[in-house]
């Protein structure tokens, strides 16, 4: 690809983020029309608060999708991390949080070994690990404790507290994380290797890159981010049950796709995913405001994802 073509593609991609932001603003406008006065500082604060767990979960998903993979265990990992954190809380909050995060890293490492060393297709590997994680969690929940554990105060305020009345506390975690990911993907060798592996794994290997190490680290990072998302989510809803984050699996993939990351790997950005997560959250808010029942909500949600993905593929013109 010549430099000029690359520049042109990059321009379209940058413009497509503007299109997504315009869509976001349009959805907010729709809410304002449906219920005048609904879009205020409080609403924005709420949207950010509910988007944060999804945004962080989709961050791990973005990393994996850029390398041409997919992680179907993110939601199971998030649930397990939150549950184990909550069940360990009586032994100290620090220990609980570390235990939760370790779950994520451990599952991510196993995923990574399967995908990078044994060359298992990511879809199968992460699907199977999702089953293992959920099964183990069920067994753990029956063996360890009878009651649904509570969430420590620190996590609760991380997930649903606000500073200065409107700024959600989780933004102080999500913001720096996002910055690291956006800069890291564009500016560091590791970030570029992810794109390279997603674009052409064989060529990258022949260029002397130890691809398996990069992939292994990447899946571990995805596991860690999923665990973080699980902790934040348990703070937001102030509970940790056995199906906490399961509803976020499909949205985590949808946010990545709507954000313009190719499911085949090699292109995309976390900034797009952030906007994707925000769009999905605002969409949810629109559907809630319209007061449609859950069934209709699901149908509309699915239909809108189809339309967005189709429009996106058309605009960018890649398969």
């Amino acid at each position: 690809m010549s430099v000029r073509v690359v520049t042109a593609v990059r321009l379209v991609q940058q413009r497509s983020i503007l299109v997504l932001i315009a869509l976001l603003v349009a959805l907010a406008g729709l809410i304002e029309i449906i219920r005048p006065g609904a879009v205020n500082a409080n609403w924005v604060s709420n949207i950010l608060e509910f988007a944060a767990p999804l945004g962080i979960l989709a961050a791990g998903q973005t990393l994996v999708v850029i390398t041409g993979g997919i992680d179907l265990s993110v939601a199971n990992v998030a649930t397990a991390a939150a549950y184990i954190m909550a069940s360990q809380a009586p032994f100290g909050v620090t220990r609980a949080i570390i235990a939760g995060l370790l779950v994520g890293v451990a599952v991510g490492l196993v995923n990574g070994v399967g995908v990078a060393v044994f060359r298992v297709q990511p879809l199968i590997m992460t699907l199977a690990m999702g089953l293992v994680v959920t099964g183990s969690l069920n067994v753990y929940s029956q063996a360890a404790i009878r009651s649904v554990p509570g969430v420590p105060a620190v996590i609760h305020s991380l997930g649903s507290g606000t500073v200065l009345g409107y700024v959600p506390v989780s933004l102080f975690l999500w913001g720096p994380l996002a910055l690291v990911l956006i800069v890291g993907l564009r500016g560091t060798g590791f970030g570029r290797l992810l794109y390279a592996l997603g674009d052409n794994m064989e060529a990258t290997r022949l260029a002397g890159v130890r691809g398996w190490q990069v992939l292994l680290a990447n899946y571990a990072a995805c596991g860690l981010l999923s665990a973080v998302a699980g902790l934040v989510l348990s703070g937001t809803v102030n509970a940790a049950d056995l199906s906490l984050a399961n509803i976020l699996l499909l949205p985590s993939v949808a946010a990545v796709v709507i954000g313009g990351t190719s499911i085949f790997g090699g292109s995309g950005s976390y900034s797009g995913t952030i906007v994707g997560a925000l769009i999905l959250t605002v969409l949810n808010s629109v559907l809630t405001l319209l007061d449609v029942n859950d069934a209709v909500k699901q149908v509309l949600y699915g239909a809108i994802i189809v339309v967005l993905a189709a429009a996106y593929t058309r605009v960018l013109g890649h398969d």
């Binding site: 089953l131 099964g135 189809v306």
Partner: protein, 315 residues
């Protein structure tokens, strides 16, 4: 002979694994009889259809993450229309449901072909749509599938060792064998194996892929009706388990997720294996919660061994 082993090796291994598991089961539970066998065929019936649906779609180079919700849709549609009617009416309803859900499956394919969005994204999104529609038809689990209709699967017309639930699986070869031998079936394999080569050989790509999704939808509908017959209940959320388990079954059954390679025999045995595991755990007195875990570990091990083979051959 050597060629046959290489070609059918995986399938043979899956059947050996199933036979081995059955022997272990009989060893654990010496009074294993026709009743337990009947229970197993009932448990495996919906999963076998789900696996068949996923198989044909994956063979065409796609993947359908909406199979579970499609089954749930067929399940609740059948309940809401059959409630309080007799057998003849129920069978009529079943045929209509088969048609409706086949069309829904075909719609998956049409959207994928027309929008050119990857299969996994579209079927992820449509899984919301079918699940939402299922909830619209029936808000909460409701019993009431006519008993005569349930008995189509639950009875044993010929012999206690040949339960109806086993015979109903004949629907799969009835559709599959003529299809595979036809031009259209060959085209499905061709599209899944190498899309460019298929296109240059004059295969209508779009049509073949839509056909695969339509047949997949048909098998998913059979799976939904199987749920109605085996449980007697309409459950809008029944499908969630089957989407992932169907993928497990085809992977275990030796169908390549890359498309174009694999057959129908392996996934069917895999569906039986996956249904046998929880039963064995119960016979052993182990918490059935371990079932999911074991299923996951089994898949990881199987694919890792398969992957190791590929790596070693390359080295």
């Amino acid at each position: 002979m050597a060629r046959a082993i290489r070609r059918f090796g995986w399938t043979i291994a899956v059947y050996v694994l199933f036979a081995l598991l059955m022997v272990i089961t009989v060893f654990i539970k010496p009074d294993y009889g026709s009743f337990e066998w009947n229970t197993l065929t009932l448990a495996a019936l919906p999963l076998a259809f789900a696996a068949a649906a996923q198989t044909i779609i994956v063979l065409s180079g796609g993947i359908d993450l909406s199979i579970g919700p499609l089954m749930a849709l067929a399940n609740v549609l059948s309940l809401s229309a059959m409630l309080g009617h007799d057998l003849n009416y129920s069978v009529g309803v079943a045929l209509v449901v088969l048609l409706e859900v086949t069309l829904a499956g075909a719609l998956n394919g049409v959207i994928i072909v027309v929008t050119r969005v990857p299969d996994i994204v579209i079927t992820l999104a449509t899984s919301f749509i079918w699940a939402g529609l299922a909830l619209l038809v029936l808000a909460k689990p409701t019993p009431g599938i006519p008993l005569d209709f349930q008995n189509l699967a639950q009875g044993s017309t010929f012999s206690p060792w040949v339960p109806n639930a086993l015979l109903l699986l004949l629907v799969i070869p009835l559709i599959w064998i003529p299809l595979r031998r036809s031009r259209a079936g060959l085209a499905i394999y061709a599209v899944g194996s190498d899309r460019n080569a298929a296109f240059r050989s004059g295969v209508n790509l779009g049509l073949s892929r839509v056909l695969a999704y339509a047949v997949g939808g048909f098998f998913a509908a059979c799976g939904g009706l199987a749920l109605s017959m085996t449980t007697g209940v309409g459950t809008p959320l029944a499908g969630t388990y089957y989407t992932l388990s169907a993928v497990s079954a085809i992977v275990l059954g030796g169908v390549s997720l890359a498309g174009g390679r694999g057959g129908m025999l392996g996934p069917l045995a895999a569906a039986y294996i996956l249904s046998l595991i929880p039963a064995v755990l119960i016979y052993l007195g182990i918490d059935p919660n371990y079932g999911q875990m074991i299923q996951g570990v089994l898949i990881v091990l199987v694919v890792m061994i398969g992957g190791l083979g590929v790596v070693l051959r390359r080295a």
